[in-house]
Structure formats: C-alpha cells, structure tokens
C-alpha cells in the first residue's frame, strides 16, 4: 500500500478552480519535490492536503495509508501523521512554545492510545530535538513564533516536525527567506528525520534546496496539474531553461 495516493484531485477557493486533476503516488522512504511557476497551485495542494477551511475539494480522492484523508478534520490528519511546514508560520502571542507543543504531542499520543508524556520526559524530548536544529534554548519560553526572525521561524517548523514525527511532511517553500547557513541547518534537520517509513513533499521554486534535500522524484505543477515528472536532473534542467521550456 502506498503512503499517499492522490487521485484526480480538484479544488477551488472562492469559486475559482486551482487544482485541476492532480494525480500523485508517494511510497514510504521517498522524497518528492514539487516545482512550478507562481500560481500553479503548489501551496493550494499543501493547504488541501492539510484541510485548510478556505478550500473546497470538488472532485477526487486522497488516501493516507489507505484511509480517506479528505473526510478528516485538520487535527485528525495531523494526528495521522501529516505535517505541514508552513511557508508563513503563524505568530501566536501569549501561547508559549512549551505549552503549545506539549498540547500537540499529548493530543497526538492520546489519539494513538498512549499515555501523555510526563513533564520531565517532555522537556528531555524538547532538548534532544532542539539540538538537531541548533536552536537556542530561550526560543521555547517565548510565544509561538512571536518575534522570531525568518530563519528562526523556519527552524522552528522543522523542530516541531522533529517533535511530532510525522509519516508525511510537506515542506512548503521552507527555503524561502533562509540564508545559506540556516538553509544548511534546516536541510540537515530534515535529512536526519528521514526514515524508511516516512516520506516528504518538498515544494520549492529553486533547485538550490534540492542540493541539500535530494529528491527521488521531481514533479512540475503547472496550471493545477502535474505536467511533468522526472528525477533530480529535471530540477537542474528547469533551473537552466525555466518553465517556459515545458510548453514547447
């Protein structure tokens, strides 16, 4: 059974169709890059997979480990192991990172029928995962993303990914706004979290990120459909020739 199967997915926002029949199969252990011009539907795809309320699915099916993903509320999709590293992580004033993450981890554990983590176990886990992203301790006592720099916010996304251990991670332009050092740390974090049982979708405009997170497949999304699929060489070709080349 595939980890994720997207069949003829169509979705719209405010009456405008953005996804026009997306088909994609992802198996365990695979990294899929999705590239494409602005407005192609890349971020819409991540929003639809995670259940953002602004989008309406008009047709198609998405199966996660064979389960109907689209019928689940956003929190259940997350507990089933779908994680989105947001392009624009949201600031939540007044909610501390510790409280936020402890709630998230324990609600997921409860869903899995596990006991909640004790405070000491939880803090130990946080320390371990924080080291992975070379994050400063002080960030965890601050409110979620509040006052974080662009790089800190992206590291914080991958840190949360490390804490939640998803089976499917969607990285939505995780490289945007990162300098080269932060990019290396974030990519190293993502690579360390890779296991034979999980998979990633890496949405990016630039080939640069794919030097660090090497994809098994590269897909080009244009006007709401996947128009070309290849291996990592396709990303290099796109970088040289641009997307116009695909229309020729």
């Amino acid at each position: 059974m595939s980890l994720l199967e997207i069949r003829n997915l169509r979705a719209s926002i405010a009456g405008k169709e953005i996804l026009k029949g997306v088909n994609l199969t992802i198996n365990e252990g695979e990294v899929h890059a999705i590239m494409g011009p602005n407005g192609a539907g890349k971020s819409t795809l991540s929003a639809v997979l995670t259940g953002h309320p602004a989008y309406t699915v008009t047709e198609g099916q998405v199966l996660l480990h064979g389960k109907d993903l689209l019928s689940m509320p956003p929190e259940q999709r997350a507990r089933e192991g779908v994680f989105l590293s947001f392009q624009y992580p949201v600031e939540i004033p007044g909610v501390s990172m510790v409280n936020f993450l402890r709630t998230a981890v324990n609600e997921k554990r409860q869903y899995e029928g596990k006991e909640p983590l004790k405070a000491t176990e939880f803090l130990k886990l946080m320390r371990e995962k924080r080291a992975l992203l070379e994050m400063a301790d002080k960030l965890n006592n601050r409110a979620v993303n509040e006052g974080f720099s662009g790089g800190e916010k992206k590291k914080n996304e991958i840190f949360q990914m490390a804490m939640l251990e998803p089976c499917l991670s969607i990285l939505d332009e995780t490289d945007s706004g990162l300098d080269i050092d932060a990019l290396r740390i974030v990519a190293a974090g993502v690579n360390k979290l890779k296991t034979p049982n999980n998979a990633s979708i890496v949405i990016t405009h630039y080939q640069r990120l794919l030097d660090y997170i090497v994809p098994d497949f590269v897909h080009v999304l244009a006007d709401g459909q996947i128009v070309k699929t290849g291996t990592k060489e396709l990303a290099l070709e796109l970088e040289q020739k641009g997307y116009e080349w695909l229309n020729q």
């Binding site: 509320p73 929190e75 997350a78 507990r79 994680f83 947001f86 939540i92 004033p93 409280n99 609600e107």
Partner: protein, 202 residues
C-alpha cells in the same frame, strides 16, 4: 501594595483617592451584570489600575461603565477591559476619562478589546475622553474581532483539536486582565475561571 479589589456583581462602586497611592480593581463577570465604577483622584500622586474580564454566553448581557476622574496633578490611570462573548451574548463598555483643567502631568491609558465567539454575539463600546488640562498623556483604543483563524488552523495542523486551540488562544487573550493570585477571589468566581480553563497557571 494594597490588596486588589475584586468586583464580580452588579452595582455602583465609588472610590475616592485622597492620599497618594495605588488602587487596583479587577472586574470579573460571567453572567448578566451591570457594573459602574467611579474613581476620583483628589490629590497628586495617585495611581489606579482597572482590569476587567467579562466572559459571557447564552443570552446574557454584561455592562461595564468606568469613570476615571483626574482632579489632581501627577496622576496615573490604566484601564484594560476585555469581553469574550459567546452565543447571543451582548457586551457594553463605556469608558469615561475626565482630566480637570488643573490636573497636569496625567498619564492615562484605556484599552478595550473584545472577542466575539459567535456571529450572534454583539459588542458596543464607547470611549469618551474629556480633557481640560494641556500637559497630559492620554490614550485609548478599542478593538472587536474574532479569534485568529490562521492561528487556529496552525494549531490544528499540529494535532490540537479546534476546541483546545480556541481555549489556548482565549487563555492568552485574558491573561493580562486576571489577578495574579486567586486568593481573595470568591470560590464561585474561581470555579468559573477554572471551568473555562482560563484560571490555571500553565
């Protein structure tokens, strides 16, 4: 510092500050109540803080009127009043700030922030500043809105249920208007705070 005053039921409450010092008042309302507070600063060097939380549901309506009168110089006042309105609840805040002609060097702030949890809930807010002195700092601001949809989705995407996410956002919203200690708060009010999940320290 003197023990704060806690107001949790209808009435007109008058305070006269006739010696220099600080006064702290908390308003905590969870059902239909009408509260009028008047504070008069008679001598210089007085400071008053009024914090309020009105968290109401069903068809209840809660009203808070404040009248802060700066009648002497070098006074301070700070008001932060918040309403959380669910179902068909109605809230009203009327904040009057008066600074007399001879009351110079006053520093007065008034903030009213409100969250509507349902489309049927409604809020009326009316700040009124009456200032006759010319060397003062006075500010006011009022906002009414919903819980941040983006923040809710972000938390749900991490596996937090929508109701828990709402509660976390509400806890954050009300944190700065609650007393630092629940000692001296009536058991009934403590129960209400805890049942709303907003009184516990995290």
């Amino acid at each position: 510092m003197a023990q704060p005053i806690i107001i949790s039921q209808s009435g007109s409450y008058h305070y006269v500050q006739d010696t220099a010092g600080e006064l702290t008042i908390y308003v905590l309302l969870f059902t239909s109540e009408e509260v009028d507070i008047e504070v008069s600063q008679m001598v210089s060097g007085c400071s008053v803080t009024i914090k309020g939380l009105c968290y109401i549901s069903n068809k209840d309506s809660a009203r808070v009127h404040t009248h802060v009168k700066h009648l002497a110089s070098e006074g301070q006042s700070q008001q932060v009043v918040k309403f959380v309105l669910n179902d068909e609840a109605k809230g009203e805040f009327f904040g009057e700030l008066y600074i007399a002609k001879d009351a110079q060097h006053i520093d007065a702030q008034q903030t009213n922030r409100n969250i509507l949890l349902s489309r049927q809930a409604s809020m009326r807010t009316r700040p009124q500043l009456i200032i006759y002195a010319d060397d003062v700092k006075a500010s006011h601001g009022a906002t009414t809105g919903q819980l941040d949809e983006n923040a809710l989705f972000y938390m749900q995407q991490r596996g937090i249920s929508k109701s828990t996410a709402q509660q976390l956002l509400l806890q954050a919203f009300v944190k700065d208007v609650l007393p630092l200690s629940l000692d001296g708060v009536s058991e009934h009010i403590q129960e209400r705070l805890l049942s709303l999940g907003i009184g516990e320290e995290v």
